[in-house]
Symmetry: C3
Subunit: 349 residues, 3 copies
């Protein structure tokens, strides 16, 4: 088992290189002019989508990476394993999505494929949140390969078989929303965890690191919901609907956090999570022709549901903490004394 | 008082939804073609301004949010209350600015309105810096509503009544600069605070969090000063003037910090604040036809004035620290032991 | 010596102002129409390059700034001195590059000059990594002036004398890659340092701050390698090649880190550094017509070489730690008790 992780990682990377060698070519102006004589001109070498790509890229690597750092022990794993999953996942996502859409032929890739590849990793990263601390890096590699293949198959079904091409973006992000539910279930473990560590000294700063993740996700979510929307009115509307939904969600999430907590105080855990519900909720209908006040209503409800769900689904969680720490000690070199002590505390619960 | 905050927040959000329902519609290509037959075509559905919007959005939520985290006790409040104010404020800013410009009619919104809405929150966030720790969340909600209404009225006067439409951007940002002065006055409390806490262990990392805020404000300030400038030469010049002014400001701020501190050392507090003065100073004249060396001079002077002002206006501050911590204990759930201890230290000064 | 730093900094800024006054003018539409009658139209007032500039700007100030914060004692110096060097360096880079290309005449600047000015600072920031803690701020000012002049001279030789204009970008970034080697040599000091401080309590969070730097460098590196590439196919290809090279590099860096560490654990130090090697390696050939699988191979090799190099070049490092801390105590005001204690620990090694 000592070499399981490095050998599997190297093996997967070699497989990616082989598959890229067989199937993947870059889009060029020459390709495009040939294509435009034939069927569709979906891909292009223009950089119109590049700013959207960068925003999504920040969300995937910095946003999701730091979101889970609230767990004192999980700073390294949250940022580090997130990094590994996303880097492997975007290569695999490029291949699976490309092969399915080209029906096994060679295919050309452009900026839009990079956005879709990043999207495909999001599903794994969200599921990662639910199993953080309960899986080894080897298991995460396997999960990445399986889940992205499933995602690509699902996206292919929606877009190609059901011909739901115009709202394809919404449908795949809808699937995204469903996975998010799973993630929330997993995140709830932390509440019990925290009660067990009343004296953990760095939790305060851990929560600030998590706010980096929350804020970069929140700030760029309008780009996420609009990145592959139809240019023009639809993309414009997707940006604005998400912007307003997120803003309303923040206000109601704060209100509900204060309602539910002792003495009306705010709970940073709610702020880190529920404020993003407005973006998830809007994912399904961002580019539709809905009036602005509807975005505010949807965002407001998402904030309320998210905080209440977080509060009352947590009751069942009690003894998950020990398992929570189990694999972590295997994962990072314990070169800091204080680190080992914490692991001890963790497993002693 | 237990339910004052959640009820007021929910009430304000309901009011926003109602006002959006009555007044606000999205800009669409159809709207625009109708409009272009009539008077002005100020709004559009193109995404030219979207990159500028995103930069401003990062500054408002991540930049201002982390700027105040240098206060060990204020990490949560700085990031968290900043988040709440800005999310509520951008909705209210959209409405007040829109209603004033449309003279009470229904109005259409686009990306430019999103930029202006974010701008309107900046005034509150700057004032927030001056009162951090001295106000409750309820008071912050009231301040947000009042200050943004005042800002929108001021902006309307400048642009519509005085017909100063061509330099509108500069004028409203000038107002911004004025508020900044108030903020500095408030920030000065920290100096006394720090002397009172010689053993605070996390201050070092708190100052690094604050540098995240400083750097993201500094990096994107050229976008802030040019976002609503006239496209073409003027916008181009606004970007470059701000870029050079900020660079010069950093050099003189470091020099003055070393001049004023014991044994010529640098003071991280000066770095966090004075390096931004070059952007504020340039806000009034960024798009004017000034030569590059003038930008350097203006930025250099701003850095000098800011560090000296910070140093010598601080003398008067002595006993403000106790008040400084007063409301904080009401605001966040004290679920970390070390947190309560710190509050105790805070109020014990 | 007490006033050496402030006087030198002020003096350099005055010199910049004078040189800007003599040589530098902004590009305007009027300039351009005059120029287009004559020779080349390399500069423009369009904002096509502005999004690339912002990404590079984030990398220089936030990415490089936070990359070195892993050293507990070097949080302030890493972010703070990085800030000073880059702010001075971009002014000096603007002048030296402009004067060389204009052969001592007045010259006009635009967004592309801002990108090149930021690039020129990167070489100093990388060398800064190799001497962090061994130099005073005064020495850093001198190094900034000398190294950027050398960089501009080198870039001039490559582009103008050798007429290697089409791959100019690659060549200067190649030079960049060479400097990177020096930086790695310096970074190695940390390994010894860490063994000496088994009980340092904030190292865990210091490493998370460093991950902010790593991630923002990693995320925006495609923009770095493509910013001044020829628009169209070449720029498009530079983005995609770098994207895939970086992704492959992450996977192999993790694999090798686990291979080399005790019990197959991951080492956060490798993650922070080796994951970027894929971007550096691609810097020399990003815009060339290479197939996608070649990018993956190049990135994979870069990750492997970087981790192994880091591991086996570290053996020689043993007693560099005392010097490592020498100047730091002179640099920042020791206003935190814990700070001085750490310095003591540091010099006691």
């Amino acid at each position: 088992m000592r070499f399981a992780f490095p050998l599997m990682a190297i093996g997967l990377e070699v497989a990616m290189i082989a598959l890229f060698g067989i199937f993947v070519q870059y889009e060029t102006d020459q390709n495009l002019s040939q294509k435009s004589n034939s069927t569709s001109v979906d891909l292009d070498t223009s950089l119109d989508l590049y700013p959207f790509f960068r925003d999504v890229h920040v969300m995937i690597f910095a946003g999701f990476g730091f979101l889970m750092t609230f767990l004192k022990k999980y700073g390294f794993s949250s940022v580090g394993i997130n990094f590994l999953i996303a880097a492997l996942g975007l290569q695999w996502g490029t291949i699976t999505q490309g092969i399915l859409h080209s029906h096994g032929e060679k295919f050309h890739i452009g900026i839009k494929n990079m956005i879709n590849a990043d999207f495909s990793t999001a599903t794994v990263l969200i599921s990662f949140g639910a199993v953080l601390g309960k899986t080894s890096p080897v298991q995460m590699l396997i999960m990445t390969i399986l889940e992205i293949a499933a995602f690509a198959g699902n996206e292919y079904l929606v877009v190609e078989i059901f011909s739901a091409s115009d709202i394809g973006a919404s449908m795949t992000i809808h699937a995204f929303g469903a996975y998010f539910g799973l993630a929330v279930a997993g995140v709830l473990y932390r509440s019990g965890l925290r009660k067990g560590h009343p004296k953990e000294e760095s939790v305060y700063h851990s929560d600030l690191f998590a706010m980096i993740g929350t804020l970069f996700l929140w700030i760029f979510w309008p780009s996420f919901n609009s990145a592959i929307a139809e240019p023009g009115d639809k993309q414009h509307r997707a940006i604005m609907n998400t912007y307003f939904s997120l803003a309303a969600c923040v206000v109601t999430a704060y209100a509900c956090s204060s309602l539910l907590e002792h003495q009306g105080k705010l709970n940073i855990v709610h702020i880190q999570n529920a404020t993003l519900a407005g973006g998830v909720a809007m994912g399904t209908c961002a580019d539709m022709n809905i009036p602005p006040y509807f975005s505010l209503i949807l965002g407001s409800l998402a904030g309320i549901v998210s905080v209440f769900g977080f509060k009352f689904l947590t009751v069942y969680d009690a003894g998950g903490c020990a398992r929570f720490f189990h694999y972590n000690s295997n994962c990072w070199r314990a070169n800091h004394r204080f680190d080992s002590k914490d692991t001890y505390l963790g497993t002693a619960i």
